[in-house]
Amino acid sequence: MFIMRHELLLVAITVILLLVEIFLPQHKKNKIILPAIILMALVTITGFIPGHTGTLFGGMYGTSPLILLMKNILNIGVLIVFMQSVSWLKLEEQKERIGEYFIILLSTLIGMDYMISSGDFLMFYLGLELATIPIATLAAFERFKEKSAEAGVKLIFISALSSGVLLYGLSMIYGTTGTVYFPEVSVAYNASPLQILAFIFFFAGMAFKISLVPFHLWTADVYEGAPINISSYLSVISKGAAVFIFMIILYTVFYKIALMWRDVIYVISILTMTLGNLFAMRQRNIKRFLAFSSIAQAGFILLGIIGQSQLGMTTVIYFVLIYIFSNLGAFGVAAIISNRTGKESIDDYDGLYRTNPMLSLTMMLALFSLAGIPPLAGFFGKFFLFTAAAKQGMYILVFIAVLNTIISLYYYLLVVKAMFLNRSDQPIAYFKSDVYTKLGLAICIAGIIIIGFASPVYEFILKFTYGLY
């Protein structure tokens, strides 16, 4: 019972919100915002109370302090997304469907929690689908906009395709090993050709979810069409959860062929970083821009996974935590600007600093953190990722990755340039952000500044991780 604490709490607040939503009159639907955020904050805080760990359902579900930590990280991210969504939810088109938004988002989070906690491939698949399908409805949430509907359809198709690929791989694993439980699969796995094929299908399926090159093509289109808060959710929470479970399965189930997937990831990470960066340079739409930047960031995360050590695992989690704060900071600013003015092009940001200095500073700090500039948290995250890869002696990979950070710095600086250097005849006029947005951005900034300096955060994560060797 208490082992499933995170999921049960989320289910509970989903039900509460559902009831509140039913009893609220049609024109007062926005009254649900405050309870939703408070409840989410409570869940996030209680998540940090150390609790029971163990397995349930005969090993289908299991938690460990590490998994609890991952769930807490996701909770923090969702809380920030909630706060940043408020300005969008209060718009005329969404006003009557605010409750649905929170409920659907929470149900995807529950799916992710189950996915991370899974102890066998069935549970894993169940969680994955629960996490994916509702997002497609959210991507199409702005139902009067053609692009939003298109994004929803694209997302559902691509999820179906990748799930199919993934399932095909899983069925081969079941066929050859006779079991779906992670520990048993890992023992029975003997790298026969069919099992390697199974691994490749599994890998491809996950690569779709994390949007690694060459499975990334859907990302920019979906991010561009979907409401901006959903894009940020996709790029941060979905991706983070997928990275977590991907790493866990690679380390615990497929460790016998570690030498093989190491080479695969080596190549994929170079491709992902480089192509993500090269495409990001040419984008003028801030959502597409951030989409490609998040693809490139996924390439960096692979560097930690390739590290195959406690250092690597810790660093991946640490980096995802930092990435949540940094990327949500950038998306949050883009979201409030888009919701207030409807402007989503980087060219529209010209001269933003003169009219909205705080937003510009937030954006700059978030982008610099993504680029890995000290003394912001991103610097520490990237440095440790590179350390993890260098530990394996992959100095060439590290060098390519560092060169990629410079390319990424170039396009992040283009946005900084627009905001700080360029002058504009019609800059975005000054506007006051609402309290929730301010709070959400303030949390992001605090995270970006503090997490790096505060070494206890890193050491705290380290306590729970385990290495492959």
Binding site: L311, T314, F368, I373, P374, P375, F379, F383, F384, F386, T387, A390, K391, G393, Y395, V398, F399, V402, L403, T405, I406, L409, Y410, L413, V416, K417, F420, L421, S455, Y458, E459, L462
Partner: protein, 502 residues
Amino acid sequence: MDILTLFIVIPVLTMIGIVFCKDHKQVKWTAALGMGLQLISAAVLIILFLMERKAGNMGEMLFVKDVVWFPSLNIHYLVGVDGISVAMIGLTAIVIFAGIFASWEVEDLHKEFFISLILLSTGVFGFFISLDLFTLFLFYELAVIPMYLLIGIWGSGPREYSAMKLTLMLMGGSALILVGLLGLYFHSNPSGGQLNFSILAISKVHIPVEVQKFFFPFLFVGFGVLGALYPFHTWSPDGHASAPTAVSMLHAGVLMKLGGYGCFRVAVFLLPEAAHQLAWIFIILTTISVIYGALGAVWQKDLKYINAYSSVSHCGMVLFAILMFNQTAMTGAILQMISHGIMTALFFALIGMIYSRTHTRYINEMGGLMKVMPFLGVAYVIAGLASLGLPGFSGFVAEMTIFVGAFQNNDVFHRIATIIVVSSIVVTAVYILRVVGILLLGKINNEHYEHLGDAKWFERLSAGVLIFGITAIGLAPLWLSEMIHGGLGPIIQRLLMTTPIH
């Protein structure tokens, strides 16, 4: 709190103070106050350091403070200084102090300007006191990024292009450095114990020669980019020419020295055998830097470009001297860093002051300025004479020491390189005297210039501090070279221990 941490705390407090300032006047006085305090602490540090040494404390590093930061990766906040870093800290404090006054009348976004400028200096101070490679790298990058905003927002000419070029090239350098640092880290303990980022610990370890040879180019070129090593110097002329006055001062004066300092403190000191074996490549490159920079300066017509190319030449000489691997030449290298730092800061300050009056930097459009602005004219002549190495100024002491040291290597290759480098001072004389002749002497060729005023009080203060520095080193170089001498001991020893020089 120990005295070294003060060098990071004071700028941080100053920046916080500036955030809360109400108007332009408060901002600049806060900045001046903070950097004045910094200058005083630097003076106190020099005195304390000399007293410690006199009292017989011969530790490799003094005022060491060691706090564990990331225990699992063994990253420390480890600071400490030897004679060289003390000298560099003194240089930085002088230049930033003069820089604040040189930008006394900056227009537009004052708070942001001074905060970025002081952030930049924080990075530089942190770099010079760090003994841990992680914090060293952190401060290095911290010093680079504010440049983008400083040049991009307050610069002139093709500022956006220059700012981007400079930032990306320097970050490219730091990419190389990062790989080198990780290489050092993972070879810092061959016996398999705890790995280490500390410079002092790594300097006691013998790293296999093959490994050294792999990582040495990463580190030397990485730091060399900032030290304007040919062919990675191209950011320097554009960047310096577009930067606002104080930034040019700080950048040419101090930031380029980060490259030289890193080259010998990290690359040469920690990888001595590779340094010996690969030195010939970099001696060729630095020789080209020296002569190419000098010749480049002759062709330029823009005052800032002239000075930027001259900086390439002089900083090339620093790297050249480091690669001579003997005590005399290395002392010269450090002296040259300090001498050039102050001198070039003075140049850029004066150019900024002249530009703010004439609104042009092309030497052909100006003439006879000595008559209308005698103070600036005389200061310019002093800087010029120091630059071409006239005895009595700092440049002479530094360059003379370098050449004497370089001549101690008596094989043909070193001789030829040395002779080429020595010949650059003739070229230096050509461009310096040409500028002085056209710019200051001769007729006033534009009647608007006749009513221009001379330097104001803050400009006099800014230039005065720097001139004092140049002459102080030029007339009494011994205390400085002795201080440096002590710091070089361990480095030279390590170089000698690993490989016999001839």
